[in-house]
Symmetry: C3
Subunit: 341 residues, 3 copies
């Protein structure tokens, strides 16, 4: 049985997915049903009627909440049974667990641990989410039939890009750049700068670097327990690498939320922010398509890894220097899990 860090907000679905029907989704191996309340808010309950264990997501919405599709038991957003068929009193066992819910960034977030600790201030922060001068591609979702640790490692690992993505975003020159690593309690960043190089033809087409050379930065952030941000900067060389100066260059921010479904499968939500080609829908469509394809390349690797891991009962047989940042991320997750148990 895989353990998870539970006292966190986890993305469960895109808010736009939720219409008039409840949606069942498994998170951290818990079956959840999510549905819209009459007041517009969203509720998350254990997706299992306590009577005969039928998923509540097979039921329908009613005024007071959700009604089981088998015998019509009704539950409100707190998980309390408010109607049982053919009887006046509600049996005490007829209730389901309710989970704190938040909405932000178009996503529905569920607090999977101790409800008393749920605090919207702990929701992840997406930089430039609504900033003017930035364009957003969002609503991305893939189901990855791999454990989430493989995906977190992958996202903290610049070294694989050349090989896994050689047909899409890979760049043969970049493969041997060493990365630096920094960390706090809640996040890690692995990054590298390539100084004084020539802008690519594509970069020059987007921005006039006035014939000068550029500095390229790559930042791979991991925020516990589920957020990855890859920040790619191409800026005129010679400027100090401040946040403000970086925004003068071209910047791509790729966010992923890696949410365990079970111990061996993962919800993969993504969105992308850029500070150029704002309003260019055609560019966005092409980019969305490329990103999806890239993530599927990773998925194929993850699935093959998982088969080997399950066969051998280990995750790895030999360590490399490039494992530093991914290893830090996994140790952070492990520490969170230990602290909760």
């Amino acid at each position: 049985m895989t353990k998870f860090a539970r006292n966190h907000w986890y993305a469960a679905l895109w808010a736009r997915e939720l219409g008039d029907a409840p949606i069942g989704r498994r998170l951290l191996d818990e079956p959840l049903v999510l549905f819209r309340k009459k007041d517009g808010g969203i509720a998350a309950l254990t997706d299992r009627c306590p009577h005969r264990l039928v998923p509540l997501s097979m039921g329908v919405l009613v005024d007071r909440g959700i009604r089981c599709g088998y015998h019509g038991l009704e539950f409100d957003a707190s998980g309390r049974c408010v109607h049982a068929p053919s009887q006046d009193s509600i049996p005490p066992a007829a209730q389901v667990r309710s989970f704190p819910v938040a909405q932000r960034y178009g996503l529905v977030w569920v607090w999977m641990g101790n409800a008393a600790l749920a605090d919207p201030a702990l929701l992840p922060v997406i930089e430039h989410y609504d900033s003017p001068g930035w364009e957003r591609i969002d609503g991305g979702y893939q189901h990855h039939p791999s454990n989430y640790l493989n995906i977190v490692e992958n996202l903290m690992d610049p070294a694989h890009t050349t090989f896994v993505h050689r047909l899409t975003i890979g760049n043969p020159q970049a493969s041997n750049e060493p990365v630096k690593t920094e960390r706090t309690d809640g996040h890690i960043v692995a990054y590298k700068w390539l100084l004084n190089s020539q802008p690519s033809p594509m970069d020059k087409q987007i921005m006039d670097f006035q014939g000068g050379s550029v500095d390229r930065g790559q930042f791979f952030y991991y925020h516990v327990p589920s957020m990855s941000r890859v920040d790619i900067v191409t800026m005129p060389a010679g400027l100090e690498h401040t946040e403000e100066n970086m925004n003068r260059g071209l910047r791509n921010n790729s966010y992923k939320f890696v949410v365990p479904e079970t111990g061996s499968s993962t919800h993969f939500f993504w969105l992308h922010l850029r500070n150029y080609k704002v309003g260019d829908q055609e560019w966005s469509d092409k980019m969305r398509n490329n990103l999806e394809k890239t993530f599927l390349e990773d998925r194929e690797i993850e699935m093959a890894m998982q088969r080997s891991q399950q066969e051998l009962g280990v995750r790895q047989l030999a360590g490399l220097q490039i494992d530093r940042a991914p290893g830090m991320a996994l140790r952070m997750i492990d520490k969170l899990i230990q602290a909760e148990s």
Copy 2:
């Protein structure tokens, strides 16, 4: 390993299914091969040649019985090997279990327990099966990938109709009627009467109630271990509720035979009898179609329940008053199993 009540007749297939080829079917987790004998009778053997364990149902029929498709061992209807290739004597271990078989109501019945106890008098009884003035729809079969207990509970449970079958036979008004329950050693009936109500437009179309009101009765019978009968009556109000008077009204009798295939899957045979629209094939076709659809609605619920049950390792977390009749049925089954072990 699921336990079953074995000393009973179980429906194995519709007799019309059996042609010139043997048929393999699993009952109570035992592989059976059924085939027609030269004398027109039907035999049921363990579906496994004792030599190399190949299912005999992969073989062919021969004069003396059935011939294994691998090496040609022949077995007669008693399960005795009567021919072994390339040798004169038959090894004593070359025999398979034979099961008592009966034919009734177009079904082939197999006695799955101690053959010495097999008695045709113990076959289920179907009322009005051949009565004049009654029309029959039969030959119904569905495979339900759920344990049979979920199905027995469902069939003893009027309360789910409003919710599971809201798109087909469900009736919102009926949901809160309490049921009465009676039982003997061999069967239970849960029933309710709705007195002095108006006949439905459909009912009036079929029978002239002369503007008067009607009494509606619903009877849910369970006969151990596998027969369900749902008897729906609509009769002129004011008459005594005798069997004879009930037959003056409209009557639908829906029979199901719920036969465990394994611990987690079930053969679901059904037939239907009505005392109106006799000879109306179009009506029968429509009804068959509706019944099939209704049973598939139940099947979806059963499958979802089974997934939850397997995950949690329990069947139920909270009890309701409507569980009374289903609970009695399950206790009866349990008692039969206990008595046999």
Copy 3:
């Protein structure tokens, strides 16, 4: 966990399958990657990068060997890592097992045991493989989802032909002929002669037996651990049964290599040699088609047997005299496995 006799050459693939891309194939439950070296030779390594366990067969060929598709680690044909990304020294654990490889008869053979014992002199011998006057059909492959023991037994068992192959090659008259058996340390042969019978119309069409009768010989060879040869001879009656005289008749030699993939699935390579209709491609095509069909008939039986075996936990419940040769073959395999452990 199934045990296998490892100190042997096993067919892994047809050499013509190997182009510019590596091929992953599991043998004796070991994942192998096979690929062509720059020098034209073929290498076989464990198909699992020691870093993150991704199959090397998902990678690409490079000058020095094979490159992992995840992070670009490169391995030479000896399994030594010769390049690791972003670092100068190679971690000692970064190596994979390499297996001795041989090419013969168009097949790639892998020595699955102790490499020090690998000796090309131990490769199987195929009679008349390149002999003038013989025609070859080769390249045959089927995947059989059954354990290899069922297949070895089947191939040493003339008695099943009449029944399993009654629609293809079966011959009702032949079923009760007893077989003789001979064995050495490395092989068994079960055989029978049918003397002074009439040539079939088909045989007469191929060869002029001058109106005389024929002797028919059937030889079922099993060479440990994986080669089966079925040698069918139809020769003029009255001649001594010497190898030379047998070659004067019609002769069909059907070779199979039965290579465990896992404990419950098998690679089935086959080729066929005949000493008539040399150069007749149409005949060969028809024959290939018939052989494939025949092997699929066996496969169906094997799969059904395996399901029964897995359910019961035994291979057989009753023994017959026809089990003699198959039983000897299984005991030989068992002895090899015992000797290695």
